[in-house]
């Protein structure tokens, strides 16, 4: 993510695009209504005219703040929401969304969307693994259950105020004139300084005000009295409280390298987060700055939020869930999936009135990205790809019409996938095959798509070689690779990383994949790669790292501590399929036990003989040259051999 760009969008008052919040967290809902104003679906909703009636109903945007009256009709806006929600679902009904469900995960404060899903959810939730529920089924479910949800809701009107707010504020916004809005901005700015100190407090208070619609006027009064101020100031404070989290979100939300031991920032981030990841309690001291979550708990929760996250495109949502559940993994696969989702999103995108495509789409992509980050930290490949896309959006000529711009972007994305990933891999294969000779014993670790293609291609060329697939717990990714290799008739040896020093003496080449190559030549890859590379180096076996050039990054990293990803600690405390190994049962949450499941590690460049990339075979010392020379995203992959 480019922080500078996000900062700029903050200063632009028009772009309030980002946001999708859970009603479960009080501070969030205050922020959530602002983004909803821009929701392109909302104006189309049939109820929008009706809502005009209570457009005055306590909205933050009116320059003179009137304490919001009680919402008489909750049903009207709710229908508005529910009319839209099936539409969203329909748009993704062609694909299958992985929506695992869990009955007991339903919090007591429910939303209509959540309710709908839980009614029909399968009874058992299978651990981390996602159960795939076709979206079409989901859609029908929501439609069938809709009336009951409404009827139920009509009675208990107090819970969901949030849903009607966007509609009213939207209509209000349409009404406000430019001058009014400017006055509003100024008021906000003036009040900002005062409110800053108690920003969060105020926001909480304000959100409380809005949460309980019944008691709202009184509470608002209470807040204002507490502040020893006129109600107007209180209102403006409240308004800032609403805005503040949004600003936070824009400023530092999607920062991929947030230090998770910085409690204040983590708090802020949490408020914004859609994906409520529960943090593991006992984190290893050295890795406290990295996010670590209890896996498996957030999926059902997220899935229920599907209909609340209006700005989130279903394709993006789907990909996010797949990241979360681990269905899509591997740098290339994740990157391609993300880009395909963005392509869908761009296809369905239409610029809201009073906005420019360049800015609005960038903001929207940012919001998608921050959602994806919440699901799983970005890989470097994805970071670079996003940078490319944003660059392309920013460089779109202003004169381009919307369909043209969208077509350009879609073709850009296609070209990126084709050139930087697919063709790049082919070029890598072509280079790498020259390093395989008859009689070689090739070692590979984990499952790298590039390495797999190399091995298969070399086999097709009739080279006589043997493959040693080294694997490790807990993911055992190598098994999949092994399966595909064996099926093609390669002669393979499968072993775990524990035995790597024994097997290494018969190996002649080690081919390793990489998640990223950093500019000091450090190879950032699946945990265990460094170990394999070091053993290979000790045995004088050349280590060849296969990595597409788009995964190169100008960052320098010396260890695998400061930037890494923490996996599910349960995965290492339990042995899959061996229930009898239960020595750690009940110990997991003990204060004096810290489980560390790292996902990546950094291999120093000393242990790497060669990096095979789409620009040829280079020594690890030349990575910065590639990074420098091919910074510009539009470079045709030239093959000059």
């Amino acid at each position: 993510m480019d922080p500078r760009r996000t900062a700029r969008t903050v200063s632009d008052p028009k772009v309030r695009q980002v946001g999708f919040f859970t009603p479960a967290a009080p501070p969030d809902r205050s922020a959530s209504d602002l983004p909803r104003q821009q929701d392109p679906i909302q104006p189309k909703s049939p109820s929008s005219t009706q809502v005009n009636d209570h457009s005055t109903s306590g909205d933050s945007l009116s320059p003179v703040m009137i304490p919001p009256p009680h919402h008489h009709s909750d049903t009207v806006p709710r229908t508005a929401l529910q009319v839209t929600s099936p539409k969203t679902a329909v748009s993704c009904s062609s694909r299958t969304v992985t929506v695992p469900t869990k009955n007991d995960g339903v919090p007591s404060s429910f939303s209509p969307g959540r309710k709908i899903v839980t009614v029909k959810s399968p009874s058992s939730y299978p651990g981390v693994k996602a159960s795939t529920v076709p979206a079409s089924e989901l859609t029908t479910v929501s439609m069938v259950n809709l009336p009951s949800g409404i009827s139920e809701k009509a009675g208990g009107a107090s819970v969901e105020v949030q849903n009607d707010r966007p509609v009213s504020s939207k209509t209000l916004k349409e009404k406000t004139y430019k001058a009014e809005r400017r006055a509003l901005q100024e008021a906000q700015r003036a009040a900002k300084a005062a409110a800053k100190a108690e920003g969060t407090k105020a926001s909480t208070a304000a959100s409380k005000v809005m949460t309980s619609a019944n008691t709202k006027p009184s509470k608002a009064a209470k807040t204002s009295s507490q502040k020893n101020d006129s109600s107007q100031v209180a209102a403006s404070e409240k308004k800032i409280g609403e805005r503040a989290p949004e600003k936070d979100r824009k400023k530092d939300a999607p920062h991929p390298r947030m230090q998770y031991d910085d409690t204040s920032r983590v708090e802020k981030a949490k408020k914004r987060a859609v994906v409520k990841q529960t943090e593991v309690r006992n984190r290893v001291e050295l890795f406290r700055h990295l996010p670590q979550y209890e896996h498996g708990t957030q999926l059902p929760d997220l899935e229920t939020k599907f209909f609340e996250l209006d700005p989130m495109h279903p394709a993006v949502y789907e990909v996010g869930l797949q990241y979360l559940s681990g269905d899509i993994r591997g740098g290339n696969a994740r990157c391609i999936a993300m880009f395909q989702a963005f392509k869908e999103a761009i296809k369905d995108y239409s610029t809201p009135p009073e906005k420019t495509l360049i800015r609005d789409l960038t903001a929207r992509i940012s919001s998608y990205v921050s959602f994806l980050i919440e699901c799983r930290p970005l890989s470097v490949s994805m970071g670079n790809a996003i940078k490319f896309l944003k660059n392309r959006i920013a460089k779109l000529p202003l004169a381009l019409s919307e369909p043209e711009a969208k077509a350009t972007l879609t073709s850009d994305i296609d070209r990126f996938i084709n050139e930087k990933i697919i063709i790049a891999e082919k070029v890598i294969v072509k280079h790498a095959v020259t390093k395989i000779r008859d009689g070689d014993v090739l070692l590979t670790y984990g499952a790298s798509s590039a390495v797999e293609m190399i091995l298969l291609h070399a086999h097709e060329l009739g080279k006589q070689f043997r493959v040693v697939v080294v694997d490790s717990r807990p993911k055992l990714e190598g098994q999949l690779l092994l399966r595909r290799l064996v099926r093609k008739g390669l002669s393979c040896t499968y072993t775990h990383v524990n035995a790597v020093s024994c097997i290494m003496q018969e190996v002649t080449r080690a081919f390793l994949g990489a998640s990223s190559v950093l500019s000091n030549g450090t190879v950032y890859s699946r945990v265990g790669t460094a170990c394999v590379a070091m053993v290979a180096h000790a045995f004088r076996v050349p280590v060849l790292v296969c990595c597409e050039a788009y995964k190169f990054h100008e960052r320098v990293q010396l260890d695998s501590i400061c930037f890494n990803e923490l996996g599910n600690p349960d995965a290492i405390s339990r042995v899959h399929g061996r229930e009898d190994i239960s020595d750690l049962d009940g110990l997991v949450n003990r204060e004096n036990l810290q489980l560390l499941n790292l996902v990546y590690d950094a291999t120093p460049s000393d242990y790497v003989s060669m990096i095979i990339t789409d620009y040829g075979m280079i020594p690890p010392t030349s990575v910065p040259v590639i990074v420098r020379e091919y910074r510009t995203p539009v470079v045709l992959v030239s093959d000059s051999s």
């Binding site: 009739g462 002669s491 003496q505 003989s609 280079i618 040259v625 000059s640």
Partner: protein, 401 residues
């Protein structure tokens, strides 16, 4: 038989499988040898032409070699004279007008015979002759023709890395120079020829530059270990001697060509104190040595060098004794090659004369060169400047990508 892997049973199985063709498909793919036109076939494919030339130019002349050379010269003397002695271009251009059977390889060979001309330069000259002889009327045609010529040159002597590098470099120049596209064909063509002819001068100039750059590294009273015969190294030492530096040179013998003897002769003429070592005495004398200075047949992408056999072990010894290893080489020796280990470079074989008959059962390692990884090199003196090994790849990337 020595088995490579611990699980040698597998190896043995594979061996047996290999004896019986494993599957027709793989056999098909692997078996057909690269066929080329008969005229392009190297007469003695198992012996590296490159190293033959080197031996001819730099080795100490033995009596039997002299006899062979005389025999060779007497056959070739007439056509050699025509192309080398009178001006370089005029007869070539004139003679070629009606000569349909122009062969780039003959051209290359005639250039190669000049002892002072590097192989890469010879290749470039040969390609320039292709341009001259070509009847192409567009740049595209010319490029295709050049490409063909360079491919056949490369195929003629696959062992010569400088030949390949020289061809690549020139092709790169032709395809890359954007100015060529805007000129009319004839002037572009003459520019290319001019450029190719300049390469000879460039190579001489490069040696001067390198010699100047090296002067800072040769200090009074130092002892330099030199391996093999390299024109650049000789130039460096000559310049140092001319600059009145006091230094001592240890020359290895350089078996089997004994190129070291030749170098010691040259140095003795310059009044530089020289000591000859047999190749196996390197480690013995290493503690006296202040620096190792070697040339290179090729500088590869990793930053390592490919050089005469024995360079690697000298580099290893000096690395373990913390002596700097300097390489002096012109930048046209940069090659887009990335050997991972010694056997990764195609072997360049040569005949080795042991003086006594060797029983046929005894195998002889005939490779003429080895690969020294960048880890063991300290600095490279090139006409681009004094480089660390890792810069080589940067330069190559900038040149070729």
């Amino acid at each position: 038989m020595w088995w490579r892997s611990a699980s040698f049973i597998l190896d043995r199985q594979q061996e047996q499988n290999a004896a019986v063709p494993p599957n027709p498909e793989s056999l098909l793919l692997s078996s057909p040898p690269p066929s080329m036109a008969d005229s392009l076939q190297n007469p003695k494919p198992d012996i590296s032409a490159y190293y033959q030339t080197r031996a001819a130019h730099h080795a100490v002349v033995t009596s039997d070699w002299l006899a062979q050379a005389h025999a060779a010269v007497s056959i070739q003397t007439d056509d050699d004279d025509s192309s080398v002695i009178d001006g370089k271009i005029a007869p070539a251009a004139g003679g070629r007008g009606g000569d349909k059977a122009f062969s780039v390889i003959d051209e290359f060979n005639s250039w190669r015979k000049q002892p002072d001309l590097a192989e890469a330069v010879a290749a470039i000259r040969a390609l320039a002759a292709v341009i001259k002889a070509s009847q192409a009327t567009t740049m595209m045609e010319l490029e295709i023709e050049l490409k063909k010529a360079s491919d056949s040159l490369k195929a003629w002597d696959t062992t010569s890395i400088s030949l390949t590098a020289g061809c690549d470099l020139f092709i790169r120049y032709v395809t890359r120079t954007s100015a060529l596209e805007y000129e009319d064909f004839n002037s572009a063509r003459s520019r290319l020829i001019e450029r190719a002819e300049k390469f000879g001068e460039i190579s001489c100039k490069a040696r001067r530059i390198i010699a100047m750059l090296c002067q800072d590294f040769i200090f009074d009273g130092c002892t330099i270990l030199v391996h093999g015969f390299s024109r650049v190294v000789l130039e460096v030492l000559r310049t140092a001697a001319q600059n009145k530096k006091h230094f001592r040179v240890f020359c290895t013998e350089g078996r089997p060509d004994r190129t070291g003897l030749r170098l010691s002769n040259e140095l003795a003429k310059l009044d530089v104190p020289v000591k000859l070592l047999i190749d196996s005495a390197v480690a013995y004398t290493m503690d006296e040595v202040d620096m190792v200075l070697v040339g290179a047949d090729a500088i590869v992408e990793s930053g390592g060098i490919i050089n005469m056999m024995g360079t690697y072990q000298i580099a290893l010894v000096s690395h373990s004794m913390n002596k700097p290893v300097y390489v002096a080489a012109e930048s046209y020796k940069f090659a887009r090659l990335y050997p991972l280990d010694q056997k990764d470079v195609g072997p360049a074989l040569r005949t080795i004369d042991f003086g006594v008959p060797i029983p046929s059962k005894v195998e002889v390692e005939k490779s003429a060169r080895d690969y020294t990884p960048p880890l063991y090199l300290t600095l490279l003196f090139t006409d681009l400047g004094v480089l660390t090994p890792s810069v080589v790849s940067d330069e190559l990337i900038q040149l070729y990508l």
